[in-house]
């Protein structure tokens, strides 16, 4: 596990339009090397790597939290409309108003929270059946996409840029973006880790949780809010990248029981690594532009997701 992560990090630092060799990396870390390499490393490669880890960890944790507290293996920021909602709000702000970019994450949080809540409210009918949530989420996402499309039609020239953002990607992101994201994803992540004890109780039946003296609905709300904030932060900087939040928790569940205290941290680490790998693969093809991250995660996550869903259905009878 540790070996894989180190290799991944190193590879990430190595690859790109200008490749470094491990020796270069060593020299750079010692403070030597050419100026151009230095800039590339410190200003682009390193923050990008860190960003990938952070975004992946946030999305995976958000997904893990949502799946855990709703006890619904199909819950995830992207399938419940949170991602689309966050993106939509950002698009609305950027096309209709000229707002300082620093406000985007907040807008994303508002949009994501609003749409996510709506999804669950709509899907609730004597409980939350997984398939209903997915369908409601798909509907809400579609509406957000429709709104975004409408706005894109009006925005004309900037549509191209927005489109690229909509496909997801972290190319060209540097320390500034990292700093921005950390504010919105760091605290929720930490908080989620600290509150793991309540998370584990929520994994059980509602009635059991209440009898243990925990205000089940309040904590559920709290964790959902954390998930939304984390997602919004990640989406603001990386665009709506899908599948990570949905698939990674399932993988983690294969490795470790959800009840274990180490589950959330492991999930976050896995998420970060997976997104890093995805980003690596996005940089791999020798195209003029990188493959959008959303495409890579879709291609990786899609088949996996299908497998998961079929297993799920069979188990449910």
């Amino acid at each position: 596990m540790a070996a894989i992560s180190i290799i991944a990090v190193v590879l990430s630092l190595m690859m790109g339009a200008q490749a470094f060799t491990p020796i270069d990396l060593w020299r750079l870390s010692q403070g030597e090397g050419e100026l151009l390499q230095w800039i590339l490393f410190w200003e682009l490669r390193l923050p990008r790597t860190l960003l990938a880890l952070l975004v992946g960890a946030s999305l995976a944790t958000a997904g893990g939290l949502m799946q855990g507290v709703t006890r619904n293996p199909l819950a995830a920021p992207d399938l419940t409309g949170v991602v689309a909602g966050a993106a939509c709000m950002v698009v609305i702000l950027s096309t209709l108003a000229s707002v300082d970019a620093a406000w985007y994450p907040l807008a994303g949080v508002a949009g994501g929270a609003f749409v996510g809540v709506l999804t669950f409210v709509i899907a609730w009918k004597n409980g939350l059946m997984p398939v209903r949530v997915v369908l409601a989420g798909v509907a809400m996402s579609s509406m957000c996409v429709a709104v975004m499309t409408g706005l894109l039609v009006f925005s004309g020239a900037e549509a191209g840029e927005l489109f690229f953002w909509l496909a997801g990607g972290i190319s060209g992101r540097g320390w500034a973006q990292l700093a921005q994201v950390i504010i919105w994803t760091g605290p929720p992540l930490l908080l989620a880790m600290l509150l793991v004890r309540w998370f584990r109780v929520l994994l059980l039946d509602d009635a059991v949780g209440r009898s243990l003296g925990i205000s089940v609905s309040r904590w559920r709300l709290m964790f959902m809010l954390l998930a939304v904030v984390m997602t919004a932060g990640a989406v603001t900087v990386a665009g709506p990248v899908g599948f990570i939040g949905l698939v990674v928790p399932h993988i983690t569940r294969q490795l470790l029981s959800e009840q274990s205290v180490a589950w959330l941290p492991l999930n976050a680490v896995l998420g970060g690594l997976l997104l890093l790998w995805a980003d690596l693969m996005a940089r791999l093809p020798a195209t003029a532009q990188e493959v959008p991250l959303g495409v890579v995660t879709a291609l990786l996550g899609g088949p996996w997701l299908l497998l998961l869903m079929h297993k799920n259905i069979r188990r449910a009878g």
């Binding site: 899907a123 009918k125 579609s142 499309t149 496909a167 495409v295 879709a298 899609g302």
Partner: protein, 341 residues
């Protein structure tokens, strides 16, 4: 439960009237308004040149196309909902529209990358000849993929929906990626098309889709009775002697052809196939043939009205018809989802 359905006869009489009214309104309103006399004049060939041009070359084909496209999507959705025994299915949810769009986008992008022609637009004749076939192929491939991945003959309605949702998500992501990478030069037209748009559609598009309307309607008639039966348990359907696998595939094929051919001409308009059948089921519960017919008429009406609204609400801009259908359709859909047990 004392839900009284409206008698089918009422719907069958009112809806066509409403469509005709909608058509007339579509012919009158738009960037330039024509009076009723002018419209009628143009229709019989007795009007002034401007009126005739607007009616015959711009509005009539577009309006008729809107009704046909709406009919396609609504019928497709109605069939898919009966097939999957789930009122929340439609060509978009099941990935058919996504597949059709993806292939269409790839064609557009691919054509611009080949040395054939450096400038073209989505309404250009040369590309247009291939686009519908591309979209059709894309839709069929997507449907086939979803069918196979759901277990082919062993598919259950639930698996079909779940697989469809995932495939739709994957295909849409890929399409966004393709657009982002290579569609830069044509983003505006592509974006409008992707929302579902009837802008600039003329008689050519209509001739492209009408054969498929015929094929689709024939398909509906053939699969009508088995489709009614498919709404029961799998075991009962088998015990009544129906070849489950074969008929499911056939129904899926017909629904796909209807949806994909509509996407080919107008882009992936969502929610028509989702919401309209639901309303039809509310009006004539339990009776599938009537539901199909009323869905078709309602769908035609909806798209016609949405297109009219899109053209006239924010003059001189034009809202793509898909955006309007979404704005009308989503709240309706969510309301219906709330009602569904």
């Amino acid at each position: 439960m004392n839900k009284v359905g409206v008698t089918p006869a009422v719907c069958w009489m009112l809806l066509p009237l409403a469509i005709v009214l909608g058509l007339l309104l579509s012919l009158s309103f738009g960037a330039s308004s024509l009076s009723i006399e002018q419209v009628f004049g143009a229709l019989i060939g007795n009007g002034n040149e401007h009126g005739e041009r607007v009616v015959w070359e711009l509005r009539l084909p577009r309006a008729v196309l809107a009704t046909v496209v709406g009919l396609h999507f609504a019928l497709s959705g109605c069939m898919l909902q009966a097939l999957s025994r789930n009122p929340l299915a439609d060509p978009g949810v099941l990935g058919i529209s996504a597949g059709a769009s993806l292939l269409a986008v790839m064609l557009v992008v691919g054509a611009s990358m080949l040395p054939i022609g450096t400038s073209f637009n989505l309404q250009g004749d040369q590309l247009l000849a291939w686009l519908p076939w591309g979209a059709l192929a894309g839709g069929i491939l997507a449907a086939l993929g979803v069918y196979l991945l759901s277990g082919s003959a062993r598919l259950t309605p639930l698996k079909l929906i779940v697989t469809g949702v995932v495939c739709a998500a994957v295909l849409n992501a890929i399409m966004t990626g393709v657009l982002a990478l290579w569609g830069q030069a044509h983003t505006e037209t592509l974006v409008a098309w992707l929302a579902g748009s009837l802008h600039g559609r003329d008689w050519h598009h209509l001739w492209v889709i009408l054969p498929w309307t015929l094929v689709g309607l024939i398909g509906v008639v053939i699969t009508l009775r088995p489709l009614g039966l498919l709404r029961l348990n799998d075991e009962q359907v088998l015990s009544l002697g129906l070849d489950l696998g074969r008929w499911r595939l056939l129904v899926l094929l017909v629904a796909t052809l209807l949806a994909a051919s509509a996407v080919a001409v107008a882009g992936p308009i969502g929610f028509v196939g989702l919401v309209v059948p639901h309303i039809a089921r509310g009006l004539v519960p339990g009776n599938l043939p009537h539901q199909l017919g009323i869905s078709a008429l309602l769908g035609a009406l909806l798209v016609l009205v949405a297109d009219l609204a899109g053209r006239t609400l924010v003059v001189p801009f034009e809202l793509p018809v898909g955006v309007l259908c979404a704005l009308i359709g989503v709240p309706a859909f969510l309301y219906l989802l709330k009602q569904q047990p």
